[in-house]
Symmetry: C2
Subunit: 340 residues, 2 copies
């Protein structure tokens, strides 16, 4: 066993060449005689040389790291494996490009400051940001840092449409909702209700828009519209409200699977059968959707792929800052099971 951490210098001495040549070989820079290149490579292997990233990034001004910032209330992150999937895709793509994934979870006000300072400090080459709420400070932080940034999910703040520096990756919530509701309509349902998520999140808004599209409505019928908050309990409560109004719905489109699960619970408690009395469609295709009784008809989105695309866009703008990249919307797909 040789020294713990041999330096470029040591490899150079071992191979009988200069530091510069070893550097060229290690970095794959052309212009080194093949035989010399081989010799150096052997020395590298023999000594177990690993470049010191601190020294490298000190001179290159590149860190080889990307920050993934997730600003989410506990509930959302815990209730579904959304971020785990997302991270999986991101991780794959980043490591394929020799980039490290620096995870920053934001919970409280102070965390925003910490993240802001960190990003502005130039410790990473770019960032991937998740925040589902309107007017989240993350946008400002990203802008202040001057770092290439890709958002997960369409962000939302006044005038975002005009901001062409904004790059995001989102699933096609509107189209997915459209498909789900159209499916209900086509199977003969006439009084299709909707349970919406928090309307300060674009996903909830877009899904409601898809519902309106499918039914050709300017505004949903107030009697057929209830608010959940993307939680099981919220869905159960919303379903109860809907049943207490008239006309009673013969179908429900829930803004996500959690709320659909809650709706199922209420329906069961009221002695109504699904899908005979009331058809139910969810959104997200979480694992529990398939375990539900009856199994949920829902909308699937390829979340892992969404993560991959985010990372890919970022990598592209990292490698070529000139050519701007544009946002991507991933298609959604209806999964028909027993509930509708």
């Amino acid at each position: 066993m040789s020294a713990a951490h041999p330096t470029l210098e040591a490899v150079a001495a071992h191979a009988g060449v200069s530091r510069a040549t070893v550097s060229r070989v290690v970095n794959g820079t052309p212009g080194v005689r093949p035989e010399l290149r081989e010799k150096v490579k052997r020395s590298v292997a023999e000594l177990g040389y690993v470049p010191n990233s601190a020294a490298r990034s000190l001179v290159t001004r590149r860190t080889g790291a990307v920050a993934v910032v997730i600003a989410e209330p506990e509930t959302r992150v815990f209730a579904d494996p959304f971020f785990a999937r997302q991270l999986r895709g991101i991780s794959r793509e980043l490591s394929a490009n020799d980039l490290q994934l620096l995870l920053m979870l934001v919970e409280e006000e102070a965390d925003y400051q910490r993240v802001g300072r960190y990003l502005a400090g130039g410790h990473v080459d770019g960032t991937l940001m998740f925040s589902l709420h309107a007017n989240d400070p993350l946008r400002g932080i990203a802008a202040a840092s001057g770092l290439p940034t890709v958002f997960g999910g369409r962000p939302w703040w006044p005038g975002w449409e005009k901001d062409d520096s904004l790059v995001y990756v989102d699933t096609d919530n509107r189209d997915g909702a459209r498909r789900a509701v159209r499916h209900l309509a086509e199977s003969g349902r006439r009084r299709i209700a909707v349970i919406t998520g928090p309307l300060d999140q674009t996903s909830a808004v877009d899904r409601l828009a898809g519902y309106r599209d499918a039914l050709g409505l300017e505004e949903p019928d107030p009697a057929l519209h209830a608010h959940g908050d993307f939680t099981v309990d919220g869905g159960a409560r919303a379903m109860a409200e809907l049943l207490d109004r008239s006309p009673a719905p013969d179908a429900v489109f829930a803004g996500n699977d959690l709320m659909a699960t809650g709706a199922l619970r209420t329906l069961r408690a009221r002695g109504l059968s699904v899908p005979e009395d009331v058809a139910v469609v969810g959104y997200d295709d979480l694992d529990p959707a398939a375990w539900a009784d009856p199994p949920l008809t829902t909308v699937r989105q390829d979340i892992v792929h969404m993560g991959e695309i985010m990372a890919r866009l970022l990598v592209r703008s990292l490698n070529d800052a000139q050519t701007p990249v544009s946002s991507v919307v991933i298609p959604s797909e209806l999964v028909v099971r027993g509930s509708a």
Copy 2:
């Protein structure tokens, strides 16, 4: 607005002191006159100075980063928010100590090599590792890197008990299982079956041991023992097997909530009622456990806290390499709901 990234030198010039003094102030080293200290601090604020971490770690040999390595098949990571919770706890504790969280997800053989090289390269100060399977190469990689390491979940390989360099944090699976099964026995159940997870994972093994403890058994009755694989379908299948044998069980302890959910499904399909005909207890207290019908009696473990403890142990050994830290086992708690 001043230069994008002012250096120590610039701050020194601005404050009219030497680089060394600024460094002392920035790092909180004592031995600087209070008035000078204030002056320097003002300059730092005014110029928006942020230390360059590359330069710093080049000389200190400290990176200020910790790698979190997760080697898990997709299924586990996706099916439950276990790691999301874990990461939450880890993230909190690390950022409280000004350490960065570097996430490395291992999926295939090649990833192990990549991680091994990276860790050996001295890019991080320590590692937190997750791997539930026997003989996972992670242990070797950790050892080879020479980095302080804390494992999540008790690892398992030949002779691990004698390896006192090993530090892990785990929940008390054995005791949790004991409580769960004792609860079944105390409510008058006589034929308590067990559905086990993959027995190459310590959590599955320990939960089985707890089952034996509670019943005072050397080995479980083969007729009352079935294998799931920690999945819903596995649990459903195992439950069917158990019901086809005799004597039919009047209670089931499932090694996790997923399998318990599957068991519930089979019982419902067979027209058996829970808990009247068969009582069911799960493990983990995932969110879907509470949504099940009937809601699952299960065992809760404080996963966020587990993450915090892992990070805390690592931080401690980072700050004081002399004093060894010892493993920690987090208590588990029975949550009684409708299913048993």
